[in-house]
């Protein structure tokens, strides 16, 4: 196994150099396709503004989605799961110790039951 060789996994292989080569070729291809496109496009005209039923575009500051609103749907779909997790994360130092002691006791129990052979 020398350093530039293919990296073998249990049922496959992985060679980053080949991947990068193919990636570069694909980038080149897409550039060529892009180059064949319409070239009369001008920056800064009416073409670039989004069309919102005739209303003027909002300012960019107002359109920026803040972090708290991203994945709102994901969080509200899993509402029960997250409310459980929020309940567990109390932030009280006694609970931190309690979880540790609890898992310790549980593992003692499990090792005694199944770890004995």
């Amino acid at each position: 196994m020398s350093w530039w060789n293919t990296f073998t996994t249990p049922s496959g292989f992985w060679n980053p150099l080949v991947w990068v080569l193919i990636f570069l070729i694909l980038v080149l291809l897409s550039y060529l396709i892009w180059k064949r496109g319409e070239s009369s496009y001008k920056k800064g005209g009416m073409q670039t503004d989004p069309f919102l039923s005739g209303y003027g575009p909002e300012s960019k500051e107002a359109l920026h989605v803040r972090a708290g609103n991203i994945y709102w749907g994901f969080a509200s779909a899993l509402k029960n799961y997250y409310s459980l997790l929020r309940k567990i994360h109390t932030g009280i130092v006694n609970d931190y110790v309690g979880w540790y002691i609890g898992i310790l006791a549980m593992m003692l129990f499990i090792y005694f039951l199944w770890g004995g052979f």
Partner: protein, 521 residues
């Protein structure tokens, strides 16, 4: 003073250099700030060089044994001791050297980064002394061959880390985090010491090799096994004992957050060392392996789902650190569960290699991400993602570094996270397809959550008029980026020289035991 001399004494020198540097730092800092920076950087670089010497020594000569205070230096079993290893014995096998390399690389990056990042803070000489002591703790944990010595270095590590977490008092919130971290790590260390006491009472030995050889696996040993594995898994930040991780990582200064990742991994090393070397020969490794696998899967899933809803940039990354620790526990856990069966050579060893490869990858990219988060906080002054936006206009290099780190943690080729994740997916799929599918879903969610960070912090209209961060912070990030790209493009370098030997050394405790008890020959 020849090459052989440095090679033979490197296990001690790698611990002594940062220790000496730590104790001299307050004295030098009293005279000149600049001299102190040079001193810190030089000692960290020297430690890094010695970690490479250690890797070379282990690669050419096998497991190294170094006995403190003995004549000659490798006399682990003196002729008049009756076959019992005496004194403090450092035992460096490939896995230990691998961890030492990881720790000292991240410490080098974090130390250089801190020079500019903490420039205006007071009490800097204590900061750097503690930073070096934290490195000493990590190196000692991964290089020692003695359980009590492991406890001492564990305590050095956690005390120094807790003090560093509280470094920026931040209206008391950082101190609250440090208090919680110190309480939970002290009680864990005491539980570990209790286990060491039980083992000493049973087998009259503190040396790991000696205990492993004498192990009879009585009921008392099961108690010790629970104490050791649960404590060290807690210190590594596995769910459901992870509560200190977001607090500690989230409130530490940028460079320290990166180093806390490797500090947790030193505890992870402890889990693996204890389960393979000390208990691996006699215990039921299937139970132990499933314990690690279940912890790993829980950590992966709960960590990443908690990360998705965070709005504090460092807390979010801390939850990702938990989630990535899950991959390592999963990979090595599969290796442990199949240890000794035919399946081990089929896919178990590959799973272990994947888990261990993920350790160094995670240290590099999560270190880089924490450094970029620190850079963002350095310029913007807040860690709340809701208040950020448009930073890419001013901080071009930081944005590029963040993108590299984020793509790497999400397992996008050709960065290094992909290679280790691929190994874990393929080998775990053969063990149990469900686990592998969960791992892939977690990877997708990781990408989703870093898209969120990238969008809300770096994209969008210009809100803050920020400049690029100072040079020393960029150099710190550059060091870690170099390794990410190196291991990404040439995974075989890491596989041949670092990961493969480490996995084999971990899976074969008999060689470790023979080296220590063989009188150090």
């Amino acid at each position: 003073m020849s090459w052989d001399y440095f090679l033979n004494h490197s296990p001690a020198l790698i611990i002594v250099i940062p220790l000496l540097a730590a104790f001299a730092t307050p004295l030098i800092g009293r005279f000149s700030r600049k001299a102190m920076y040079i001193w810190i950087t030089a000692s960290l670089a020297l430690t890094e060089i010695f970690s490479i010497i250690l890797l070379y020594g282990v690669h050419t000569g096998g497991t190294m044994v170094y006995v403190m205070g003995a004549n000659p230096y490798n006399l682990s079993v003196p002729p008049d001791s009756g076959g019992i290893p005496v004194r403090i014995i450092l035992t460096v096998d490939s896995f230990g050297a691998f961890m030492a390399f990881t720790a000292s690389t991240v410490a080098l990056a974090g130390g250089i980064y801190s020079i500019a990042c903490e420039h205006s803070q007071t009490g800097q000489e204590k900061y750097y002394a503690l930073l070096l002591l934290m490195l000493v703790g990590m190196l000692g944990m991964v290089l020692t061959g003695d359980l009590f010595n492991f406890f001492v270095f564990l305590e050095i590590n956690s005390l120094a880390s807790a003090a560093l977490v509280s470094y920026r008092i931040d209206k008391g919130v950082a101190v609250e985090a440090a208090f919680k971290y110190a309480i939970i790590s002290s009680i864990g260390a005491l539980a570990f010491l209790f286990g060491v006491g039980i083992l000493y009472g049973e087998y009259d030995a503190l040396n790991m090799a000696m205990i492993a050889q004498r192990m009879k696996f009585t009921d008392l040993d099961k108690i010790v096994m629970a104490l050791f594995t649960v404590t060290l898994a807690m210190k590594a930040g596995a769910i459901p004992m992870h509560y200190w991780v977001p607090d500690g990582y989230g409130k530490a200064p940028g460079g320290i957050s990166a180093m806390l990742v490797t500090a947790s991994q030193a505890s992870l090393y402890g889990v693996f060392r204890v389960s393979f070397t000390v208990f691996g020969l006699s215990a039921n490794t299937l139970t132990l392996g499933w314990f690690l696998i279940i912890l790993g899967v829980l950590s992966m899933f709960v960590g990443v789902t908690m990360a998705l809803i965070q709005h504090d940039i460092k807390r979010l990354m801390a939850y990702h650190a938990i989630s990535q620790t899950g991959y390592m526990l999963l990979g090595v856990g599969v290796g442990l569960a199949t240890l000794g069966t035919a399946a081990f050579n089929q896919y178990g060893l590959a799973a272990m290699e994947g888990g261990i490869f993920h350790i160094i990858n995670h240290a590099m990219y999560k270190g880089l991400l924490f450094l970029t988060a620190g850079a963002v906080i350095y310029r913007v002054g807040t860690s709340d993602l809701n208040k950020m936006g448009g930073l890419a206009h001013g901080m071009k290099y930081t944005t590029i570094f963040f993108m590299i780190g984020a793509l790497s943690i999400a397992g996008i080729p050709p960065f290094n996270g992909f290679a280790s994740k691929l190994l874990i997916y393929e080998s775990v799929y053969q063990f149990n397809p469900l686990l592998s599918i969960i791992a892939m879903i977690v990877s997708i969610l990781t990408l989703a959550s870093f898209v969120k960070v990238f969008h809300s912090a770096f994209m969008g209209p210009k809100i803050y008029d920020v400049k690029e961060v100072p040079k020393s912070m960029l150099i710190g990030m550059c060091i870690l980026t170099f390794f990410i790209i190196l291991f990404g493009l040439f995974p075989n370098i890491a596989m041949t020289y670092l990961v493969g030997p480490a996995a084999k050394a971990l899976a074969n405790p008999l060689e470790y035991i023979a080296r220590v008890l063989g009188g150090g020959a």
